[in-house]
Amino acid sequence: MDITLPILILAIPITMFLVLGIGGVKMSHKLAGILGILGMGTTAVLAYIVAFTYFFSGDANFILDGVRQQYQVFDVTWLAFTQTLVVNIGFLLDPISAMMLVVITTISFMVHLYSWGYMEGEPGFQRYYAFLSLFSFSMLGLVVATNIFQMYIFWELVGVSSYLLIGFFYKLPSAVSASKKAFIVTRFADLGFLIGILLLSFYTDTFNFVDMTTNPEGVLASTGGATFMGASVLTWAMVLIFTGGMGKSAMMPLHIWLPDAMEGPTPVSALIHAATMVVAGVYLVARMFPVYCVVDAAMTFICVIGAITAFYAAVVACAQIDIKRILAFSTISQIAFMMVSLGVAYDKPIEGVHYSGLGYMAGMFHLFTHAMFKALLFLGAGALIHAVHSNNYTSMGGLRKYMPITHVTFLIGCLAIAGIWPFAGFFSKDEMLAAMFARHWFWGAWMTMVAGLTAFYMFRMYFLVFWWEENPHYKEHKPHDAPWQMSLPLIFLGAVSIVAGFIPFGELVTWNGEPYHIHIEAPVAATSLVVAVCAIALAAAMYMKKNALPTKVKNMCPALWTAAHRRFYWDEIYMFITHRIIFDIICKGIAWFDRHIIDATMDAFAKITQKTSYAIRGMQSGEIQSYVGWYIAGAVAVAAITWLCLI
């Protein structure tokens, strides 16, 4: 295919960014908004065309006797480190990147549209759209990266756009610190990513994904069995690279930034911190999947981290008040879900049954559906906040009568994430669980439990917001549904969340390009459905009507509740390490050392000179006789010393 469309897909958003960023000050809000939306709309259309061509044109570049190919539309040299180790900027088309193109542009477009209503009259409206475009550009560049270094470049760029957008309300100290936190934590993770790349590229001498993924054994061989501290170098490399993913995808213990990131405008949370950027980690693992497959240790690592995170986040989500934070934690746990399902996926048969890449496929599928319904939920939450001007469910309740559209769409979202048939979440989650059970019963059971928790806390929130009891404040100012710019995306995404499950995903996106025929695993599906329904029922029992049950439950074990509410004190631990230890001890120590040891030494030279100068002034006593005394003494001394030296 010709390279115009791909180039445009990247060019339009960055142009928008520059136009709105530089010229924005001169523009009216309306103009800026329209520009941004139009730009994103065109990008979306182009992306659809590209994805469609890739999947369905049947071009030999894209699908060769039933196997979907990886195709580099273009790949130009950007910076040559050495003759062989060259950084390219390119555009790689393969199932996941095509899928991601669709996801990103769709959500981004929806958010653009939504924000037009949501951010109405905010100061810095143009800036906001500029940043959105910058983010879309970076994210698109990330997913189409042909090599790991290009991915790292855009990885940093999405990081900074998220920094800018979280800190959009830069007059609020909380927003500022949240953005700082987000950037620094992810930056720290990226350090691991970078070192991983350094290691990997040193041995493979290439950055290119295709080269690496098409023969992972070659990669393994290139390290020549080098080991460091017991683990093979490749393991180190892959684990370190995954660390980068942990940062962006908010896996434990690097998850702390995501909840705070909710300080940003809600549409931003929907776009960046629910649908697209946070799944970059998953995408990274999927990108390097074949290589991970040859490193068992790394895969296990991913599984463990994912499982722990998923459970932790789910538990914490049950004890939050701020609805955006609840959604944030649910995002964390859902992403962890995907991680686990990637981790359990294997490219070799297990007990004869060929589960190859089921987990992979399912993970990608869930990534897709999750993007849709989580965006929906966030936008819905945005609508609620827009209506009641508060993030806490305590100031909501019984809103179903006032905001019907929001209510229905939100319910759809909740059902989808809870995995109720026929909503999108059901299918993807079912596949994931199937893969986990196939790997080992423990993973399946554990994650099923998490799925149950998910259903519970989602519906806890749903009931507390839309049922429970009406909030007295509604008297003076009556909440109402959002304007059309905001409702439209809700409806659209709601529709998608209903139907997305029926997409024959296995035909499109698999780890090796060969189609995979989805067949519902009846027992798995049954169990997960049952668990989900029970959870929902429990939630309904507790939160549908105002009653004392929740308080009772809370008081059964207040310590646990507080701990969960305070997210098990992770932030406090981090605060202690960063502020008390690194800042107060290391930084201040070094600064003190610099001033009082090094600098003082330099000054000491000057002082010594002065002191000596005063000490020896007696030599110049002004007395003729002492002068000649020195004179003759000097002459004799010179003679004597020379004499001594000679003999």
Partner: protein, 505 residues
């Protein structure tokens, strides 16, 4: 002699001084006119040189140095005024002229004694340009010191704060460095030719003769590297940098951090490594330790500073440490990175100091605790500051990222554990950098306005915008299209690498 284009890089500043000499101290416009014209001419000249250089390389001219010329100066000691440039010096000249240009506009409203200020400023740039064009180590050293001494008056007279102390400290420490350097150069001269051969100061001939005995190389390497390292703000000889920069006037900080500190790196590279390759192989580890320390050390101490200029000075310590660090890795990629880092650090620090100067000129404080929310008040300056910050913490698309990545990937090619450990330590600095940059941005630009008096302040004027935009364009240019720089300098490393490898055998 004047047929050689390089000479004009020295002649034009001299003309600049002459022109200033004719102006009256009161006639600000005349002074500005002279400065603007000459600095623009310099900029144009260096751009032209760059283009022409690339053209010649395209045509396959593969000499080590181009535009060479040599004129006998002190015949008895065979001292020449010898000039010539390779890709690296071309880029350095470009950098210097850009910063001189920007600095001129950054000091548009300098007072008192504008004439004398620009006189010394011009003398400083004479030294800088002369240093980069000369390939005769005597001439090089002369220009080096020419560039150093005006700092004293520039800081002392037009500076702020403890200016007298800082100016004296800076001058004396740098001169101390050059004392060691001088000794090293003398040693090189007296061993520059095999027994009975014609001694020479000319870099090319010295490297061709390669007649310096190993034990002498080791001593001379230490002398020269320390000598230049002082100017490169190498730990523990960096303490002139914070005080000096903090007290210097804007344009001087720009020129000093932007260009003068590059003399250190350039000199280490051109003299210490190139002329003494054997010692470089043997002793590099000592200085790798020192520079590795200064990278992390500078970054950490920047985290707790509250004076904008101190923060920047310490970050300069860290970044310039990275330059020397990369040079010591003794492989082409890392050295390319070092050059990139010199350019990038030069531009972005200049931008930083320019902005700090502009902010200080408005708020009359550099203490970040007394400022806040300036983004609302002076959006243009705020955005520029953010861009500079992002460049410094290595955001892709800006120059810092390219430089650091090249350094890391180059340094990582040395496969032994010692190098690995230090490379990874250096890599950690990108996080620390992010920490202190965001700290400043958060305190200074974002958040609520601290001091309601600041609300009346105005945004940048046209000349300030011009000065900053120039720098930002260069930063982004390097960041987005780095490869042409590689192409400019790729030939320049061949002889040096050859020397090192032959010495290693």
């Amino acid at each position: 002699m004047f047929g050689n284009i390089l000479i004009w890089f020295v002649v034009i500043p001299v003309i600049m001084m002459a022109g200033l000499g004719l102006c009256r101290n009161s006639s600000m416009n005349a002074i500005r006119a002279v400065m603007v014209v000459c600095s623009t001419v310099l900029l144009g000249l260096s751009i032209w040189l760059c283009v022409d250089f690339l053209r010649l390389r395209e045509m396959g001219v593969s000499d080590e140095m181009l535009y060479t010329g040599s004129w006998m100066w002190y015949a008895p000691l065979n001292i020449h005024l010898a000039v010539g440039v390779d890709g690296i010096s071309v880029l350095m000249l470009l950098l210097s002229s850009v910063i001189v240009f920007a600095g001129t506009f950054a000091s548009w409203k300098i007072s008192p004694l504008p004439k004398n200020f620009f006189l010394w400023f011009a003398l400083l740039s004479t030294g800088v340009f002369g240093f980069f064009i000369s390939i005769d180590i005597f001439t090089m050293f002369m220009f080096y010191e020419v560039a150093l001494i005006p700092m004293y008056l520039l800081i002392g007279v037009w500076g702020t704060g403890r200016k007298e102390y800082s100016a004296m400290k800076l001058t004396l420490m740098l001169m101390g460095g050059s004392a060691f350097l001088m000794l090293g150069l003398l040693g090189i001269y007296w061993h520059s030719a095999p027994e009975g051969g014609q001694l020479t100061w000319n870099i090319l001939e010295i490297s061709r003769n390669a007649s310096i005995a190993p034990e002498w190389q080791n001593m001379l390497f230490c002398f020269t590297f320390v000598g230049f390292g002082v100017l490169g703000a190498m730990f523990p000889f960096h303490t002139w940098s914070p005080d000096g920069h903090a007290c210097a006037p804007t344009a001087v900080s720009m020129l000093h951090a932007g260009v003068l500190m590059k003399l250190g790196g350039y000199g280490c590279f051109r003299i210490a490594i190139y002329l003494l390759p054997q010692a470089a192989n043997e002793l590099a580890w000592i200085f790798i330790v020192l520079t590795g320390v200064s990278i992390v050390y500078g970054a950490f101490s920047a985290c707790v500073q509250t004076d904008l200029k101190y923060i920047n000075a310490y970050s300069s310590v860290s970044h310039c440490g990275m330059v020397l660090f990369a040079i010591l890795m003794l492989n082409t990629t890392a050295m390319t990175g070092a050059i990139l880092q010199m350019l990038s650090h030069g531009l972005m620090t200049a931008l930083f100091f320019a902005l700090i100067g502009m902010i200080y000129g408005r708020t009359h404080t550099r203490d970040i605790r007394q400022m806040g929310g300036l983004m609302k008040i002076m959006p243009y300056l705020g955005v520029c500051y953010m861009i500079a910050g992002f460049a410094s913490l290595g955001l892709p698309g800006l120059s810092g990222f390219v430089a650091e990545m090249t350094i890391f990937f180059g340094s990582f090619q040395n496969a032994d554990l010692f190098h690995r450990i230090f490379v990874i330590a250096a890599t950690c600095s990108i996080v620390i950098t992010a920490v202190y940059i965001l700290r400043v941005v958060g305190k200074l630009l974002l958040g609520p306005v601290q001091d309601e008096h600041h609300l009346q302040l105005t945004d940048a004027t046209w000349f300030e915008r011009l000065s900053t935009v120039t720098l930002i364009l260069c930063i982004a240019g390097i960041g987005c299209f780095p490869n042409w720089i590689n192409e400019t300098i790729q030939h320049s490393f061949a002889p040096i690498m050859a020397a090192i490898q032959s010495a290693a055998l």
